[in-house]
């Protein structure tokens, strides 16, 4: 850290003055040592929950343990988490309309690249969604890749047609959470509990939820990139 002595300045380089920096530095070093000590005191061998996960993997409907935890064993967390993502978008939209960008041509390279990449990215997203059943991948990875396709298109000046930016867009945004909740609820009268998939359907149900979630995550992230409400047509 460079030390420039300018005692009277309120901020230098957007930092608080030096005398206000020393105390936190000392205290936080102590905190780091304390936390480090606590971490090192953990047993060097621990399997956590990997045994119960492995034992129940058979009836979870998928063979990738992370997907099994995410969509089945702790699926309720994931349901709420899709809520968090949707909520963030609601929050951003409530702040106002998307900032106007100056119309500028994206340039040849970007345009060519996006034309090449967007279909490829959508394909990769589909692949990641599918592979998530038994290997690393899944809805969140697929959704983020889908979002990059959206962001790339937005960067080249593409905007969603105002015909679709009302209810159709909103339905796409809530699809992940909506399908998850509906599946979870429908299972209750079938003799189960919230989100208790019967093992014979579990795989199909998880894929259904993941497909809807991928779409919603991708579109939501791309919409977040816009930084505000998109323009809608005359009626919503």
């Amino acid at each position: 850290m460079k030390k420039t002595r300018k005692p009277k300045s309120i901020t230098e380089n957007g930092k608080k003055p030096a005398q206000f920096r020393l105390l936190p530095a000392v205290l936080l070093s102590a905190l780091a040592v304390g936390l480090g000590y606590a971490v090192l005191s953990l047993p060097s061998q621990a399997s956590g929950l990997s045994e119960p996960v492995a034992a129940n993997l058979e009836s979870s409907g998928v063979s990738n343990p992370v997907t099994a935890v995410l969509l089945n064993f702790r699926g309720y967390d994931t349901l709420l988490e899709l809520g968090v993502l949707l909520l963030a978008l609601l929050g951003v939209w409530s702040l106002g309309a998307a900032p106007k960008r100056r119309e500028s041509s994206p340039g040849l390279v970007l345009e060519m690249l996006s034309r090449l990449l967007v279909p490829l990215l959508i394909l990769v997203a589909g692949y990641l969604l599918w592979i998530g059943v038994h290997a690393p991948g899944g809805a969140f990875q697929a959704g983020s890749v889908l979002a990059t396709a959206g962001v790339l298109s937005l960067l080249t000046g593409w905007r969603l047609d105002t015909r679709f930016s009302g209810l159709p867009l909103r339905i796409t945004l809530v699809a992940g959470l909506g399908v998850f909740v509906v599946v979870g609820i429908v299972l209750i009268p079938m003799g189960g509990r919230l989100l208790a998939y019967p093992p014979s359907f579990a795989g199909a149900l998880i894929l259904l939820i993941e497909a809807a979630a991928t779409l919603s995550i991708g579109i939501t992230l791309a919409a977040l990139f816009l930084g505000g409400r998109p323009e809608t047509g005359g009626h919503s």
Binding site: G34, L35, Y37, A38, V39, S41, L42, A46, S47, G48, L49, P52, V53, N56, N72, F73, R74, G75, Y76, D77, L80, E81, G83, V84, L86, L87, A88, L90, G91, W93, S94, L95, L167, R170, I171, L173, V174, L177, G178, V181, G184, I185, I188, G192, R193, L194, L195, A196, Y197, S236
Partner: protein, 486 residues
């Protein structure tokens, strides 16, 4: 206990507001009826869950049918039930009030469109939080709650509200990260995130002390215990009136609820010095918040500082550590939630009526808004802790707990805090009767806004008259332990 009833009330309590949020988002023009129907549905489901808990005792529900430690459990005992009921009562009031507030003739329709889905999300987060028995799941609900609350504060627009919301967001995220690191340490130390399993497995060790320090700090930051309250007044005072009400009544209580659960279940061996420290900070909050409230020029800022003070009372139970003390703190939480909702609603009415909330210029508002001032005064009775209000019962219980624990000096804080509250309540009511020099133009306040404020204030008083009933609920599942009861 093996009998599983057909309707899973606990699940409905969480899923209903989520569905309401989605519907309000999809059909913004129908948001008001959708929101009100959802609010009524939530109240009905909480009543259903209450009936179930009263009839069958504390309920545990394994989401997905897996059960802890693999899955996530929901748990409802008297404590969670009482929290859900507070949220239901205050939530219904706030929903009705918002119909008037966001749909006034001159209000921007845009705001209402965004208010309803955000508020439904916030309610879902609260209910999910009060029912969760899993510390990682609690993290997710905390974030859901925090983001919804921040977005609702920002809804007011303008520099004050946006800056307040920004600071609130940073503080909220910081608190969550402290909490999450604690969760990480506990999970890696003991192989579970279920509260009951952790309670069985945890024993004093460096990891537990570190986790406790992190989680308690994070939650205190979110609960705005003095001196970590710096973010609260600006956020609570600059928000739209119904949002101020729900932030002060419910949102800060949610992190207190988690703290209480962890303290009682996972960290019962926490040493007495830390409990004394929390009690001292609580006492400091009561005095500091009270003094600051007394010197505020704006009504909403005053009420926000009073929240800082009232939160302090909740922490007086920690050094006492007996069942009566915890019950008193919970009763304080309950009556403060209802009274503060009424008070912020009244402030919202005054602000709307005169276009400002400067206390010295209240200008005989009592003649024009008699219901609102009555609501403010009645809520003030509960906040001061005068009989027969809910606040009185709470302070009485805390006093009794202090005497039983042979720490009578905490009683002095109760009296001093009450005097400070009395001073600012009388100051505000006094100005409401005085003619000010500058007459101002006025607008008609919708009747629904005035009546909701009054009804909430009356409920705060009734909480004192019908205290045995909630107190009996609180004993279900003995959340505060059995061995040192009575």
């Amino acid at each position: 206990m093996s009998y599983v009833p057909d309707i899973h009330w606990g699940v409905m309590v969480i899923v209903l507001p989520l569905a309401g949020a989605v519907c309000c988002f999809l059909w913004p023009r129908r948001a008001v009826p959708l929101g009100l129907v959802t609010a009524l549905g939530i109240v009905a489901c909480v009543a259903g869950l209450g009936w179930q808990v009263v009839e069958q005792g504390a309920q545990r529900y394994a989401v997905g049918g897996w059960g802890a430690p693999l899955g996530i459990d929901l748990y409802a005992d008297g404590l969670s039930l009482l929290m859900l009921m507070v949220a239901a009562v205050a939530g219904l009031g706030i929903s009705v009030y918002s119909c008037g507030y966001f749909h006034r003739p001159d209000a921007k329709r845009d705001k209402a469109k965004h208010f309803w889905p955000l508020w439904m999300f916030l309610w879902a987060a609260l209910n999910a939080l009060f029912l969760s028995a899993d510390i990682f799941n609690l993290y997710v609900t905390l974030e859901l709650l925090g983001l919804a609350a921040v977005a609702l504060v920002a809804l007011a627009g303008g520099a004050d509200a946006l800056t307040g919301a920004m600071r609130y967001l940073l503080v909220s995220l910081l608190g969550s990260l402290f909490y999450l690191l604690g969760v990480a340490l506990l999970y890696h130390g003991f192989g579970s995130v279920d509260i009951t399993l952790l309670a069985e497995r945890v024993e004093p060790s460096p990891v537990v002390w570190a986790a406790m320090g992190l989680m308690v700090t994070g939650l205190l930051l979110k609960t705005a215990l003095f001196p970590l309250h710096f973010w609260l007044p600006s956020a609570h005072a600059s928000a739209p009136a119904p949002v101020s009400a729900l932030l002060s009544a419910l949102v800060v209580k949610a992190s207190f609820y988690i703290l209480l659960r962890l303290w009682l279940e996972i960290f019962p061996f926490a040493n007495a010095a830390l409990a004394q420290l929390l009690g001292l900070l609580g006492a400091a909050a009561v005095l500091w918040g009270g003094f600051q409230a007394l010197f505020q020029a704006r009504l909403k800022m005053l009420i926000a500082y009073s929240t800082v003070a009232q939160l302090g009372y909740l922490f007086l139970a920690f050094p006492l550590a007996n069942v009566i003390g915890w019950t008193g703190a919970l009763y304080m939480l309950l009556s403060h939630a209802v009274a503060k909702t009424a008070m912020f609603m009244a402030a919202g009415n005054i602000l709307y009526f005169g276009g400002h909330d400067r206390i010295v210029d209240l200008d005989r508002v009592v003649q024009r808004l008699p219901l609102t001032i009555t609501a403010f005064a009645l809520a003030g009775v509960s906040i001061m802790g005068l009989p027969p209000s809910g606040g009185f019962i709470a302070k009485w219980l805390l006093l009794e707990a202090a005497i039983r624990a042979a720490q009578w000096w905490w009683g002095g804080i109760l009296i001093l805090g009450g005097l400070l509250s009395a001073a600012w309540v009388f100051k505000v009511v006094g100005y409401a009767f005085t003619q000010s020099e500058v007459p101002h133009e006025t607008r008609t306040v919708p009747a629904s806004m005035e009546w909701t404020a009054l009804v909430m204030a009356v409920v705060a008083i009734l909480l004192g008259l019908f205290a045995p009933w909630p107190l009996a609920l609180l004993e279900i599942g003995s959340p505060f332990g059995r061995e040192n009861a009575g």
